[in-house]
Structure formats: structure tokens, C-alpha cells
């Protein structure tokens, strides 16, 4: 049985001489996986540095997923998180020597800031007070400033709608790490946008929603 925390295993089937069984496997995989292609690409794009690299990553993920598909239990995990998990593993496997865990930030104990008082009025790290309607490409630009591990968590939370636990499974990290990354990512994006607005001297009231 496929476990979300493991790499896909080579399928035990098919047995030689049973072509239709294999065909069925490929067909089933394609039907189940293809609807998630855009989502997988988005995560790949959040991790990779270019479109071409993202597409390579998706292709490699697809092959690995297919190789492990025979042992995958759809009901237990759902196809999308499973594909995400393979993609995430693939990305960091291919990156090889790069550290999987970003330095310092993820070492911060979540409890350290969970009890902090609320953001101070006027702080650039506040996420409230932004008028999102006035931003366009700046939003993506701010996202692109994030490191891949933060960008991917932000994407899984916002676009893909995964829970913290699901994100932790995809990323292979602790729940607290997810919360930490998400916390930092949200505020980094807000800070970028706030600075952008301030650089253009937009009236302060335009910043307020």
C-alpha cells in the first residue's frame, strides 16, 4: 500500500503475457491523474525556477507516479495530494545537494510566536489593511520573491485549499513547520505589496480595504 510518506514503489504487476491488465493500469492512471495536471504544474512552477524546469519536473513526477500507481490506494489518499507528494520529493531529490529544510526560519519553534501579541498598527508585516483590488501583477511578483519552500506552502494553502496537515504530508515536514512557513509567507507577501504601494505613494486610504 502506498504511504504518503514514501516514494512510490515499482508495481508488482503486470505479469508477462497479460497485456490488457497493464493497459488498464495505464488507462486508469491517466484518467485519475490527468484532471490534476494543472494543479501539479502549479506546484511544480512554485518550486522550479522556470517554466521549462517545471514541465520537466511534472513529466518526471508523472513517470514516477505511474511506476507507483499499482500500489496506490485512491480512497485512502486522493490522487492530488499523492501527486503533490511525489512531485515534492522529486524536486528535492533532483536538487540533490540542496538542503530540504530552509535554514533558521523553520527551526523557529512555532510556540515562540504563537503567543505573541497581535501585529502592531502600522507594521509592514501586517496582512490586514491591504486593498487587494489595486494590485495586479504585483501579487505574483511578490509571490515570486519567496523561496520555493514558502511559495509552495502558500500555493497549497491558497490555491489548492489543502489543510495544514495535508500540506505537512505533501512537504514531508511537521505541522508546526507548515504553520511557520505559511505565517512567514503571508507576511512576506503583504510586506512586499505594502512597500510597493508606499513606493508609488498611493494614498494611504487606498491601502485600506
Amino acid at each position: 500500500m502506498f504511504s504518503m510518506g514514501e516514494e512510490p514503489q515499482r508495481p508488482a504487476e503486470p505479469v508477462e503475457g497479460e497485456g490488457p491488465l497493464s493497459t488498464s493500469l495505464a488507462e486508469r492512471f491517466t484518467e485519475i491523474a490527468l484532471p490534476h495536471l494543472d494543479a501539479v504544474y502549479r506546484l511544480a512552477r512554485a518550486l522550479a525556477s522556470s517554466e521549462a524546469e517545471a514541465e520537466d519536473l511534472v513529466q518526471e513526477t508523472w513517470v514516477r507516479a505511474y511506476n507507483g500507481f499499482a500500489g496506490f490506494e485512491l480512497r485512502a489518499h486522493g490522487a492530488r495530494p499523492w501527486l503533490f507528494r511525489i512531485l515534492y520529493n522529486t524536486f528535492y531529490t533532483l536538487k540533490g545537494k540542496q538542503r530540504r529544510e530552509p535554514a533558521l526560519l523553520d527551526q523557529v519553534d512555532f510556540d515562540h510566536f504563537v503567543s505573541e501579541p497581535s501585529g502592531v498598527e502600522g507594521s509592514v508585516d501586517r496582512i490586514d489593511g491591504l486593498n487587494w483590488e489595486q494590485f495586479d501583477d504585483e501579487v505574483k511578483s511578490a509571490i515570486e520573491q519567496l523561496r520555493p519552500e514558502y511559495r509552495s506552502v502558500l500555493l497549497l494553502w491558497s490555491i489548492e485549499g489543502l489543510s495544514y496537515k495535508e500540506i505537512a504530508t505533501v512537504c514531508g515536514c511537521a505541522l508546526g513547520t507548515v504553520m511557520s512557513r505559511l505565517y512567514r509567507a503571508r507576511r512576506a507577501v503583504a510586506r512586499q505589496l505594502r512597500e510597493y504601494a508606499q513606493d508609488r505613494r498611493w494614498p494611504s486610504e487606498r491601502l485600506e480595504s
Partner: protein, 375 residues
Amino acid sequence: MSMHVGDAELDAFADGEVEAVTRLAIQDHVKGCEQCRSRVEAVAAMKSALVRHWGREAGRAGLRSRVIGAVEAAERGRGAAAQVPDRSAFASDRGVEPGGAGCVRRRMLLERPWVRRAMAMTALAAAIVAAIVWWRPVSHVAGSQKLVVVVPDRAVLGVREAHAAWERESAGADRKVILASSPSALAEQLSSTLELDVAVPDFSASGFALVGGGISDVAGLPAAHAKYLRERPVSILSFFTTLRNERMGSTVGDQKGGREFFVSRDDPQGAESTVVAWNSGQQTYAVCAHLPREDLIAIVTASRIAAAPPLAEPVLLASAEVPLPVSRDEVLAVGSARPEVQEAGSMPSSSTSRANRGACLVKAGLAFWAISQMQ
């Protein structure tokens, strides 16, 4: 009013990620605290904005065909692997079930309309895998056809290990695929990974775009490869480099060292498969392609200008065009050594339905090669 809620805890509350007791407590607080309520609403506002600006991103139109082709190619790869007659002997060592996915057929899949539309790209991707270098114990290949095989005993051991490595790669466990958009970037990554000065030629002038590359850890030594694709006419160009391997200990005549590249073609349309190889320093380079020999030599020769390392005069090692059976004289003409030539026995009946297969065994020093033609 109670004390403000911490930012992260408030974020988690906004995301519905706090336990029931905490949720009720925060809910009570937020009702009476405009500042905290504003921050909760800000989380939702940010999420909506991200969806609006980021959620429409999707892969390019060709991506769908590409991944379909990749699955198709994976099947082909398994199929090729399963065609090694004594594969079960290796499988038992690895704990891999004999047969594997080698018998995969794609009839039902191909009947699907959207797959038909993707046939062109599928064929390209499948061809990529068909051109992948993989290893097999050719000395064990048996057949009624004329088959010339030259594999020194100690090299067989290396091939066995290499074949096992290929199987692991196929399973996706230890595969080292390098993602790179340009030959120079790939060369940099290969060099960094291998701690070796690896050059990846740029064949773009000949219409070949780099597809990707990777590293196989074979018999304890690395072999790097790069793949190129030319869409019109459809051709695959594969480039390989490896350290000349003294440790492998294979000897052919006076030649010692080098690596055996086994290039397999599983192309029912019978495209040509040609290999050119040369040595540079302590590395062996080989290029194979589904191209007429004249074209490949021209391409490789032309790349000498732009490609590092400096190529020695490329030498054609083998081509599926060569009439069978391959004579001993032809083998000797290719290599300077005097390899031992063995003819295989009878082919298992299960193999007779396979498509024509051309195979080239390339060794540093241009020592030996083998071609088989299956009916």
C-alpha cells in the same frame, strides 16, 4: 476585552485549523475586537486575491501530451526491460518480480480519442526512452538469428550490475535526472554532481534541442547522459560520457578499461540507430541517434566547433543498417583489438514476435559491438 490573539493563532483560526475549545474562545474575542476581526478577514482576503491572481496558472498546451507520452514511454521502457531473456535471474537478486511491466500493451489506451490527438508527441517521448542507454547482459541473449556478441567475462559482471542499476532507475528509486534548459547548464550540473569536468555539446545548430539529462550510477561509477530532440524530422540524439573505467577490468585484446554502452532501439518503424564514439582524456563520449550514419557523423563533426571537449575524430561504431550477420572482420575493422566473438544459440520462442531491434554495444577504445535482428 480579553488580550489580543497572537498572529499565528489567529491565522490558524481563520483557516479553521484550531481545536474546538480554542475556536470558541477566539470566536468570542473576535466578535468584540475589531482589530482581530480585521486580521481574520485579511486572511480570507489574501486567499481570495491569491486565487484570483495565481490560480489560473496552467501548463502550456503541450504539457498534457507530454505527460501522456511519458507514461507511454515508461511502458515502453518496461517492455524493453522485460525483453531481456534472463532478466528473471537478475530480478531474483533484486527482489523484483520477473516480467515486470515488460509485457505492457497500449491498445486500449491508444483507442482513446484524446490519446490519438496526442500521438505525435507520444511518439516523440517514446522515442526518447527508446534511445536511453541501458544495460543488458547481451552475452545471454539467445536467438536463431545471427548475433555477434563480444563481452569479456569480467565485463559481464559490470553489465549485470549496470542492468540492476537500470532497473532501479526505472522504478524511480535512485534515478538521478538533471533538469536543465541548456547544454551549458546541464554540463554545469553534471560536472558538479560528478565532480568531473563534463561537457555537453550544443547540437542546436543541427536542430536538436536539449531535452534533459541524468546520471546513472553503474557498477560504482557514474555515466552521464544528455538527450536531444529534433521534431522535424523526428530524431533523437543521445549523448553519453563516462570515466574510462580501469576498475571494471574488462579487457579486449590489449585494450583495458573503458565502459560498455549498450544502446537499445525498440522501434517498430525500424528507424536507424547509429552510434559514434570517441575518447577525450579519461572520458569516453558516445552519441547515438536514429539517423543515417552520414547524418550523425556530419552532426557530430560539426559540433566539434562549438562543443567541448575537443572531439577526437569521431568514429562510426555501429549502425542498424549494417547487413547481418556481422562478420568477424567487420568487428575487427571497428576496433583495433581482437575481441573474442561468440555466436548465440537459439532464441526463446517468446521473443519471436518482438519488433526488429538494433543494438549497439560501444566500448571505449572502439573495441567491440553487437547487432541483433529479431524477427
